[in-house]
């Protein structure tokens, strides 16, 4: 996926005008908020469980090499294979090699953000393999050739009309005059269509929410059950996972799971939380014959020991974007790559470069709501600020802003001059403002402000001027 992150401003401006998107966002936002709040309120120990979650992840990251080695040994002991992939290219090649070796033509897929990150679908298609997304949201996006707009609700930006339109266009073997009376009919059609695909697939690819070192297990969480069908029915199961997904034990994973669904969808627990360890055992009646894990680094190891290490705690619950006032009005596509919202604003620059993703850490008011809901307490605003510092150091900050900042900095460091300048400025604006009813509808150099709102006029006398005056007249 070619990033459009450099065009964030244009993307956002367009998104604000898109009626359908705005309708979808308006519907989505309050749901996420109230559901999470309710689930959290129902578990009094939630804040402590967040602390524990943060600590488990920190502990694991500190000994990441050891836990990955332990995990890999246990995968192999259970008859599975681990493919260590430093780059996205390595990961794509490893998936393709497996598919080609087993002669796969159709590959079903559970939801995986790693798959988006390494742009797997396009790659498989180019090599004559048909990938089929089975998460309902991902499925319709695949039909529409659109990227996801949200990491857990990839198609939340679509409305019912969009679903019907896409289904009519794509499922051409069904009667064109069929009626979709309710959402249920859309679901039923998707279920039927995808059942055919599940049965025809040679390989099933899923993501992983967690890897468990103790047992060599991968964990996925779904509500639909598509991930389970994807990994149970075909001959080969491939797991796409990145290195930071590992936790030490089943008990550690359990603590994380108490956080995940509540933070994500506001459920106490997802419908299907599935722990997979190796391929079908000799006596098993079902399950895949081969089990592979594609273990992706793709720059993550270089975040260790950096100001961005805490980001590796992320469990991809999407609470940060659900509660982000910027995400809530522009949606996920504006961010221009795989990971939107606050977590994307921190992660994307690491993965595609700050020169490409420079807008993302800037497009935040630092309101701090993301951090306040993050289940593993990632200091997202602090890390966005780190990115701004890197941009400033590398002179990626626009020169107009730099000049202003420098000028302002000069005055701020010289209180005497600062007093003079502010006194003059306030007096002028105050005087002009009084003649305009106390506010300006336009001001030179302040177009960005006054396009959307008036500029209230200052009182006219600075505080220090007034303080001095009142002090002298003993009026204080």
């Amino acid at each position: 996926m070619l990033p459009t992150s450099p065009a964030f401003k244009e993307n956002a401006a367009r998104a604000l005008q898109e009626e359908r998107l705005q309708k979808a966002l308006a519907r989505t936002k309050p749901q996420f908020h109230t559901k999470r709040a309710k689930a959290v309120a129902a578990l009094p120990e939630f804040e402590q469980i967040r602390d524990i979650g943060r600590d488990i992840k920190n502990h694991t990251l500190q000994f990441l090499d050891h836990y990955l080695e332990t995990w890999a040994e246990n995968v192999e002991r259970a008859g599975g294979h681990v493919h260590w992939c430093p780059t996205a290219e390595d990961a794509r090649a490893a998936v393709l090699a497996i598919c080609q070796r087993v002669g796969a033509r159709i590959v079903t897929k559970g939801k995986s953000m790693i798959s988006e990150e390494i742009a797997l679908n396009d790659y498989l298609e180019r090599h004559g393999i048909t990938p089929v997304e089975t998460d309902l949201g991902e499925y319709i996006l695949q039909l529409r050739h659109e990227p996801p707009s949200h990491i857990i609700g990839p198609a939340f930006h679509l409305n019912r009309e969009d679903w019907e339109e896409s289904f009519r266009k794509s499922h051409t073997d069904l009667p064109p005059d069929r009626v979709f009376r309710e959402r249920r009919d859309i679901l039923t059609e998707a279920r039927t269509k995808l059942r055919e695909r599940f049965l025809a697939a040679d390989v099933g690819i899923t993501g992983a929410n967690f890897l468990i070192a103790e047992t060599g297990t991968s964990v996925i969480v779904t509500n639909e059950g598509n991930g389970d069908l994807t990994q149970t029915l075909p001959r080969v199961h491939i797991v796409l996972a990145s290195i930071e997904k590992v936790v030490p034990t089943l008990e550690d994973a359990t603590n994380m799971l108490r956080l995940l669904a509540r933070s994500a969808t506001g459920q106490d627990f997802s419908v299907y939380t599935t722990f997979s360890t190796g391929p079908r055992r000799p006596e098993d009646p079902d399950g895949p014959e081969e089990y592979h894990v594609i273990l992706l680094d793709n720059g993550r190891s270089s975040m260790l020991g950096s100001p961005f290490q805490d980001m590796l705690r992320c469990i991809r619950c999407a609470a940060c974007m659900n509660h982000c006032p910027v995400y809530n009005v522009v949606g996920g596509h504006a961010y221009g790559w795989v990971y939107p919202g606050p977590m994307g604003a921190v992660l994307t620059p690491t993965l595609i470069g700050i020169d490409q993703a420079g807008h993302l850490p800037n497009a935040s008011t630092f309101c701090g709501r993301c951090e306040s809901v993050c289940p593993v307490r990632i200091p997202l605003p602090r890390m966005m600020r780190h990115w701004r510092e890197r941009e400033f150091e590398r002179h990626l900050t626009p020169s107009f802003a730099r000049t202003n900042l420098r000028l302002w900095g000069f005055f701020a460091r010289h209180p005497g001059l600062y007093r003079l300048a502010t006194r003059a400025g306030a007096a002028l604006l105050g005087w002009l403002g009084k003649r305009r009813g106390g506010r300006f509808t336009a001001l030179p150099l302040a177009g960005a402000w006054t396009r959307g709102r008036d500029f209230p006029a200052p009182e006219g006398e600075t505080f220090f001027a007034r303080y001095q005056r009142l002090e002298r007249s003993h009026a204080l």
Partner: protein, 235 residues
């Protein structure tokens, strides 16, 4: 090769070499002890209330539960449930000895096949390994006696569960699994362990919940009251 590349990059950025042996021992000990973390008070209840919590949580997640006084009541309860919901009387059941031994003959109208499920199956019966009261979750590990397909392919999923196997928290269910499997020399975990909380669903279409996305649309638990201390009138 690429394994070393990743591991050495991790170590380089953590500004250290491979872990010294004493560190590795310490970490191995943590794995061996697999300490529990905070367990929410929610499920720390006397047995009858724990069972009641399990039931109310299953129902909150759109599942249903029927309490039966013994295994012998199961075929009848299934027949009744299927009739009530206008469902076919043919079902596929997990080949668990407790299920194969049920008095199926008493309900000749029920057509039962034992084994893995096929896409054409409309109704399935699984044997529950454990129930977790905290969230009304079923623990369903795979194995010859519990095919995974049974959990997934049919539109109506029935699960037989002994009340004595209902625990409070997930950790207690893991302990049951560890206890059952720690004897052998195979892996600790079966190929697959599913934690199932209610029937399949999706909110992908306009964020509106619809049941029965890819998996079962109905989840019905047949709860056997085999635990005298857990009965509603106990204590």
């Amino acid at each position: 090769m690429s394994r070393e590349l990743i591991l050495s990059s991790i170590r380089r950025h953590l500004r250290r070499g491979p872990l010294p042996p004493d560190h590795r021992l310490m970490l191995a000990a943590r794995l061996a002890q697999h300490p529990r973390h905070l367990i929410p008070a929610r499920s720390r209840l006397p047995r009858p209330e724990q069972i009641a919590l399990f039931i109310s949580q299953v129902e909150k997640e759109f599942g249903t539960v029927v309490r039966l006084s013994g295994l012998e009541d199961v075929p009848g309860a299934i027949a009744e449930y299927l009739a009530q919901h206008n469902l076919p009387t043919r079902l596929v059941a997990a080949p668990h000895p407790e299920i194969t031994a049920l008095p199926w003959g008493e309900r000749p109208l029920l057509e039962v096949r034992f084994g893995r499920a096929e896409p054409s199956d409309q109704v399935s019966l699984q044997h529950g390994f454990a129930g977790i009261a905290e969230t009304g979750t079923l623990m369903l590990p795979s194995g010859p006696e519990r095919p995974t397909t049974i959990n997934l392919l049919a539109d109506t999923a029935l699960v037989l569960l002994r009340a004595s196997r209902v625990v409070g928290a997930y950790e207690e269910a893991w302990d049951l699994l560890r206890a059952e499997r720690s004897g052998g020399n195979g892996p600790l975990m079966p190929r697959n362990v599913m934690l199932v909380t209610g029937p399949s669903r999706s909110a992908d279409i306009e964020q509106t919940l619809e049941l029965g996305a890819h998996g079962p649309r109905r989840l019905h638990v047949l709860l056997i009251d085999d635990d005298p201390a857990a009965k509603p009138d106990a204590g």
